[in-house]
Amino acid sequence: MSDTARSAGFWKRNQLKIAPWAFLAPGAIMFLLYVLIPIVQSVWISFHDWDGLGDKVWIGLGNYVELLDDDTFYVALKNNLIWLALYLLAIPMGLATALFLNQTVWGIRLYKSLFFFPFVISQVVVGLMFTWFYAPDFGLFSQLIKWLTGTEIAVLADERFVTLGIIVAGLWPQTAYCMILYLTGLNNLNPEQIEAARMDNARGWRLLWHVILPQLAPATFIAMVVTVIGALRSFDLVSIMTAGGPYGSSQVLSYFMYEQALSEYGYRMGYGAAIAVVLFLIMMVFITLFIVRMIAQERNR
């Protein structure tokens, strides 16, 4: 048997074993290199003092100990929790909007697209829009507040309202996202179940709660995933609208990390990495929950 024939035979026999890895290799290598390995490297770097250029100096848990003493860290942590809690409002708001728009009247398709609009726009632009919206003197929102209450509030310069103001800006595209998920879900409802429930005189809220919402569960799950992840990832709006100010009062972990790692007073890569690890661990709690559920669904297929 010649060499080529033998190798062809080997390929024929083992094709089904080798093929998946050959198909996986290019994508998996890229993903390993740019996503999975850097996670491990970040954890490693978080145990060091490093300016990004010179040698890394091992300081063990030093960065984490410093973090526990850093007031900004607690402000950021608190704000992340506020983000998480309030961002979830996007889900009922999205559902309400979807229910409002789930009709077949003239032009409804265009209305749906235009309601979805905020999600397509870059968060940088959303941030600038809301900065303008809130601007004292000439912002539409501050004029409205002035007209209603007689006093002017500079939302983004006021420690009491700044985080709230940014979250509202974030809720705008996020509600649109949840709305589109629910509109798709509503399109795929089981009409027989609804008719049967209507026969039994279920109407309005009861029908929604007992019949519709259970059928919308897959949409709700995805809305939860993207909203929780979106809330904890919030970076763009904070960076654009306040850069964490005034006096660090609108900090979140993602921006705090960026600011420390690439600080204008010298790069603190190790400290930044430690903040990133904390954020990563918080998100891992949620990611694990999501994945466990997805695996369960996968097994049920």
Binding site: Q15, L16, K17, P20, W21, F23, L24, P26, G27, F31, Y34, V35, L36, P38, I39, S42, I45, G52, L99, T104, V105, I108, F115, F116, P118, V120, I121, S122, V124, V125, L128, M129, W132, F133, A135, F138, Y177, L181, T184, N188, L189, I194, L207, P218, A219, I222, R233, F235, S239, I240, S254, Y258, L262, G272, A276, L279, F280, F286, I287, E298
Partner: protein
């Protein structure tokens, strides 16, 4: 259908609904409408304090000024240089990975799949320091190529999830009968599965285009100078220069937002199909 079709309601309710629709839309889009109007308002209006009244004229001049006096045209070109290769790269890689995970039942299959899915949800900050360092060492810091490679790798996670589920939905008998015929695995992928993936490829292309176009974080982390800066980071730096020149900021914002918006309107069906993947049981 839920809620009850408005056609079954009283005529008054029907009219009420038709009136409420545009009103609700106007309120929903107030920030956008405000910025759009401001972008066409002459600078003299703003100077005179005419922020909300009827503009004294339509100042398309603002848009001309943005392109003439700022490098925004260059930034937009950079955004295309980052976005288009990323779309091609991520979609191509995920066609392969999606096929591998959907068609073959090897032991590590689910683990590999969920590694892609989980990687997709992590915070960018955990990647920032090592990726920036790696890009610097490779001499790709401050280049569009550096951004492209990262985006391809990261988007492959989401795209793999999408492609794998899409291929799972195709009839497996097609692949089996080809195998019986002795068709090689590569040819099965190339000539049987790939042609059926067109809708998935279209949906992913628009989604990845929008995600990458709108990326701001990596644009600030991996790029410093003007020559490689995408429009999101560019707009932010211009915002610093145009202090309180809201007519210019607005015009720049609209320009930066336009490409994904156009993409969305042209490919709406695909866009929504991609975004709502998994939102139904089907």
């Amino acid at each position: 259908m839920f809620p009850t079709p408005i056609q079954k309601a009283s005529p008054a309710a029907r009219i009420g609904y038709q009136v409420l629709l545009p009103v609700a839309l106007m309120i929903w889009l107030i920030p956008l409408i405000g910025v759009a109007v401001t972008s066409l308002r002459p600078a003299s209006d703003l100077a005179a304090g005419n922020y909300f009244g009827i503009p004294s004229g339509l100042a398309f001049e603002n848009y001309a000024a943005v392109f003439r006096d700022s490098p925004i045209g260059w930034y937009i070109l950079n955004s295309f240089k980052v976005t288009v290769p990323t779309v091609i790269g991520a979609v191509a890689l995920s066609c392969l990975t999606g096929f591998a995970l959907a068609v073959y039942g090897f032991r590590a299959n689910l683990w590999v799949f969920f590694a892609f899915v989980a990687g997709n949800f992590i915070p960018f900050q955990i990647l920032m320091v090592p990726v920036r360092d790696m890009t610097l060492r490779a001499g790709m810091y401050d280049t569009t190529l550096g951004l492209v490679l990262f985006h391809i790798a990261f988007q492959t996670g989401f795209c793999t999830l999408f492609m794998r589920n899409f291929i799972k939905g195709l009839p497996f008998a097609l692949i089996e009968s080809a195998r019986v015929e002795g068709v090689s695995e590569w040819r099965i992928f190339r000539y049987i599965v790939l042609p059926l993936m067109r809708p998935a490829i279209a949906a992913l292309s628009v989604l990845v285009f929008t995600f990458v176009w709108n990326d701001y974080f990596w644009a600030t982390v991996l790029v410093q100078g003007q020559h490689a800066m995408p429009v999101t980071a560019g707009l932010y730096s211009l915002n610093g220069q145009w202090v309180a020149a809201w007519h210019l900021v607005s015009a720049g914002s609209i320009v930066a937002a336009l490409p994904p918006v156009l993409m969305f309107f042209l490919m709406q069906r695909h866009f929504i199909a991609g975004l709502t993947l998994g939102a139904t049981k089907g």
